[in-house]
């Protein structure tokens, strides 16, 4: 009751209202200890750190517009006859879901805009997550202590794909219905349980009358709920770990250099939300996405040519298109490899990138925390692996549009498909080799720059007539930045003879690890960075620099 006991008497009424409200809340929620730790928290700045913000903001936009859409959308597959204001469709038989989407587009003022913002934001959300994930990958930001946050992010990406898929299936139009049919066909290919899963998901045979309502609760409740939890967890961890930073003067593994949350970061990040929202709103006003009225309601016996899913499903589409149609029949059963194998590859392909941080930390055996980002060139094997992964992904994305590529570039569909089939295996290998070389080349260039200075573009003539280019020595800032990265030594298999001279059995995993470690950090995989001695020898030889 009495605050007088532990407080110096305060002159009531003097403090500004905001402060009094904050004091009140602190007394109940203890917000001041939270604010003490976070209000002036430091955030480093780099353009690539904004990619995560793009994802966060488009997610918020999706939720806002999605809630609006639920006010008008009817998740029902009852067949109705259309009498709305879109003349070409009048008298057509369609599901209520399709009809209500037409109504949102033509009879609710601003409804079309919100639909288009929702859809564009979904496309940007997934593109943002993909690029953000690549940023984290190529800079090694996934290393200890951030592996769990990497998994959170990865889950968001996968769930985002499924949320997007269930979302664009809701209007029950011919295009998305074809995509749902595709999914059902893929489910049927699962050995043993495929037909059961299909019956349970669709409430009977395809298409049935249930899937829109079921996809609806998955789309607006189940998946976004999980994703919201993951997003919050993701952000809490970002705060808790504090952001990573690139090496540079004054930046160490033990500090974080940047601007405080209040005010600069808050203004920039808050402002950036409006920038993202503004751009998406303008795009939605200008570029039409998913004009379902031009496509027509779903009928399982009709199809439009050039059927394409949203971009983030293109990879799966490509796998399914490229796979030869193998089927194995035995004992009255069918193993539908032609569809099931792509399904499995899809899973494995994603799992590989999800588990990568654990694979790398096993190879390095490094248990330390890492807060300084790698420049991609300084981790050539990781970078090459990432580029190989992206290459395979992009090749399948092309494969997902093989008919479009073929008609666009006047190629035969056969040729495009074979290109994709071969490219899926060959492309990543080539990408790996080329990327690694480029990385090593860049490392070599950095090394030369450190030892011999930067090319100044000034040509000088020496007394005996030779022309040389003047090299300017680097500042200490630059020298430090270019030499701050650590270089691992390949791990070796420990002594094979124990202290009693008895031959020890070397485990297979140990050998594998040594092999991988050699591949990662052996002589062919990194250029030793200049040592102080080398630098001193060369610079003293050059006279004054």
């Amino acid at each position: 009751m009495s605050t007088a006991a532990n407080d110096a008497p305060r002159s009531r009424g003097k403090a500004p209202a905001g402060e009094r409200v904050a004091d009140w809340a602190d007394g109940r929620l203890g917000i001041y200890s939270l604010a003490k730790a976070n209000m002036r928290k430091i955030f480093p700045d780099h353009w690539s750190f904004m990619l995560g913000e793009v994802c966060l903001y488009s997610f918020i936009i999706i939720i806002l517009t999605g809630v609006y859409l639920t006010l008008f959308f009817h998740p029902s597959m009852n067949e109705v006859t259309y009498h709305g204001s879109y003349v070409p469709m009048q008298g057509q038989l369609m599901s209520e879901a399709y009809k209500s989407t037409l109504d949102i587009s033509f009879d609710v003022r601003g409804g079309l805009l919100i639909r288009q913002i929702h859809h564009w934001a979904a496309i940007i959300f997934l593109a943002g997550m993909f690029v953000h994930m690549m940023r984290v990958f190529f800079t090694g930001a996934f290393r200890k202590p951030r592996e769990i946050n990497w998994l959170f992010g990865f889950l968001l990406f996968v769930l985002g794909m499924f949320t997007g898929f269930t979302g664009y299936s809701l209007p029950d139009d011919l295009l998305s219905g074809t995509g749902v049919r595709f999914t059902q066909g893929a489910i049927l290919s699962v050995p043993i349980v495929g037909t059961y899963i299909s019956m349970f998901l669709f409430g009977g045979e395809f298409p049935g009358t249930d899937f829109v309502a079921r996809f609806y609760s998955i789309h607006i409740l189940l998946l976004p709920g999980i994703m919201l939890g993951l997003v919050v967890g993701h952000l809490i961890l970002v705060f808790y770990h504090k952001h990573t930073q690139f090496a540079g003067p004054g930046k160490t593994n033990k500090n974080v250099v940047g601007m405080p949350l209040l005010p600069v970061y808050m203004a920039k990040a808050g402002g950036f939300f409006f920038l993202v929202f503004g751009v998406i709103a303008a795009i939605a006003g200008i570029v039409s996405v998913n004009p379902i009225w031009a496509i027509g309601p779903y009928r399982p016996d009709q199809v439009s040519t050039g059927a394409q899913p949203d971009w983030y499903m293109g990879f799966a589409e490509g796998l399914v298109r490229a796979m030869p149609g193998w089927e194995i029949n035995f004992w009255g059963h069918t193993l539908v490899l032609g569809v099931f194998v792509p399904l499995v590859i899809f899973g494995i392909f994603l799992a590989v990138i999800a588990l990568y941080p654990f694979i790398e930390s096993w190879v390095t055996g490094d248990k330390r925390e890492h807060h300084i980002l790698d420049r991609p060139r300084n981790a050539p094997t990781r970078t090459a692996f990432g580029v190989a992964w992206v290459t395979a992904y992009l090749i399948m994305l092309v494969g997902g549009g093989n008919d479009i590529v073929a008609t666009h570039f006047h190629l035969s569909i056969n040729a495009v498909t074979w290109f994709v089939r071969i490219g899926f295996f060959l492309g990543p290998v080539l990408a790996f080799i080329v990327t690694k070389r480029i990385c090593l080349g860049l490392q070599r260039r950095d090394r030369d720059k450190v030892l011999h200075g930067r090319e100044s573009g000034i040509i000088k003539r020496l007394p005996h007539g030779e022309f040389i280019e003047v090299h300017e020595p680097l500042s200490q800032d630059q020298l430090h930045t270019l030499t701050a990265h650590e270089q691992y030594q390949p791990a070796e298999i420990g002594p094979t003879v124990d202290e009693n001279g008895v031959q020890r059995k070397v485990k297979g995993s140990e050998k594998l690890r040594a092999k991988l470690s050699e591949a990662y950090y052996g002589e062919d995989s990194q250029i030793p960075k200049p040592t102080v001695e080398e630098y001193k020898e060369i610079t003293s030889g050059h006279g004054h620099h």
Binding site: L201, G204, K242, V287
Partner: protein, 351 residues
């Protein structure tokens, strides 16, 4: 987390502070020289520049207000079915265009104002904050382990094995109820995927005209879609039935039919195939009469309709099922049975 000890005053005079650049180290030329000195922006030195920035920010915020008014005006004034021609975009909905642009500008200028404000007028001095290891110090770690052991001991779970085992049993069994609750999501597959509406004597009805067909109605080279007699668009199970029964009819020269069974099941060169692709179930919609190839637009599986609908390209795994047809007493095309094999995508029980 020691962010609280950042000086409140980030005024230019205070810069440098804790991070005085070290002189170049003679011993180690690569050593960390520390944070570079803060460089002033023009706004930090010149009050007139700062004023200009202030006006720019205020202008952006004002534009946002105007754009919101524009949004409201468009919402009220533009008829929602009005279409306008905008150069590269073609004919588009006027209201959507106006609402999108005004909303976009209203939002964008708020963002641009805030960012400009942050970049030109808020302190841009970089400060360093310490990091602390994420993992706990050894004492805490030891304390937590000890606390846990103490708690586990007090619960007697380690000693009273009976409790532990029955509890694990109960917790393992309990979710089974949840599994059972999912049972009525759908029926068991049974033989549903093996049957369609077709049966002996069902007439082939033209999808477009809704009339039964005579052989003379089917011209060489054309592709006709058909459904079983009695199935109407308004039927409540129309979608499910047409998803399996949809039929594709073409007429070939009888001697160009290479497959013996195909010839047997045809009538005067007229053959009927399932329209549902055996890959993942898209309806097939393209037919090329010279080659007798049918193409699925989804993933380009191509079937040779003159050779038992063999797959000649693409990811489909087996031929399209053929329907046996003939003519009835009145001369109309009719089915002589259901499909012999399941239509559509393959599945485990298909065999």
């Amino acid at each position: 987390m020691s962010s609280q000890d950042i000086p409140e005053e980030n005024l230019p005079a205070e810069q440098g502070g804790t991070h005085v650049p070290k002189p170049a180290d003679d011993k180690n030329p690569f050593a960390d020289p520390g944070l570079p000195p803060h460089e002033h922006r023009i706004q930090d030195i010149d009050e007139r520049a700062a004023k200009r920035s202030e006006r720019a920010v205020a202008l952006l915020f004002t534009v946002s207000m105007l754009a919101t008014l524009g949004f409201i005006a468009s919402f009220v004034a533009i008829p929602h079915d009005k279409s306008i021609y905008v150069f590269p975009l073609g004919h588009i909905n006027a209201m959507n265009f106006a609402l999108g642009l005004t909303l976009g500008v209203a939002l964008f200028t708020i963002g641009a104002g805030a960012v400009h404000w942050a970049r030109t007028l808020m302190s841009d001095e970089e400060v360093a904050d310490e990091r602390h290891p994420i993992e706990a110090d050894p004492e805490t770690r030891a304390k937590v382990h000890a606390d846990f052991k103490q708690g586990a001991k007090e619960s007697v779970i380690g000693r009273r094995k009976l409790i532990r085992n029955t509890m694990l049993g109960a917790l393992t069994l309990m979710p089974l109820s949840g599994v059972f609750l999912l049972r009525d999501l759908g029926p068991l597959p049974g033989t549903k995927l093996r049957h369609t509406l077709w049966s002996k004597g069902k007439l082939l009805v033209n999808m477009n005209t809704n009339e039964p067909m005579r052989p003379s109605d089917i011209g060489v080279g054309s592709l006709t879609f058909a459904k079983p007699e009695g199935l109407e668009e308004h039927d409540h199970d129309f979608q499910n039935e047409i998803a399996k029964a949809a039929l594709m009819i073409i007429r070939l020269e009888p001697d160009s039919i290479k497959d013996k069974r195909e010839l047997e099941w045809s009538h005067e060169g007229i053959v009927a195939y399932s329209k549902i692709c055996t890959h993942v179930g898209c309806p097939i919609s393209l037919y090329e009469q010279q080659t007798h190839h049918a193409l699925c637009p989804c993933h380009q599986s191509t079937f040779d309709l003159a050779d038992g609908a063999r797959v000649i390209f693409g990811p489909a795994g087996h031929p399209l099922p053929q329907l046996r047809i003939g003519v009835n007493d009145e001369g109309y095309l009719e089915a002589l049975s259901d499909f012999e094999e399941p239509v559509g995508p393959a599945f485990w029980e298909r065999g």
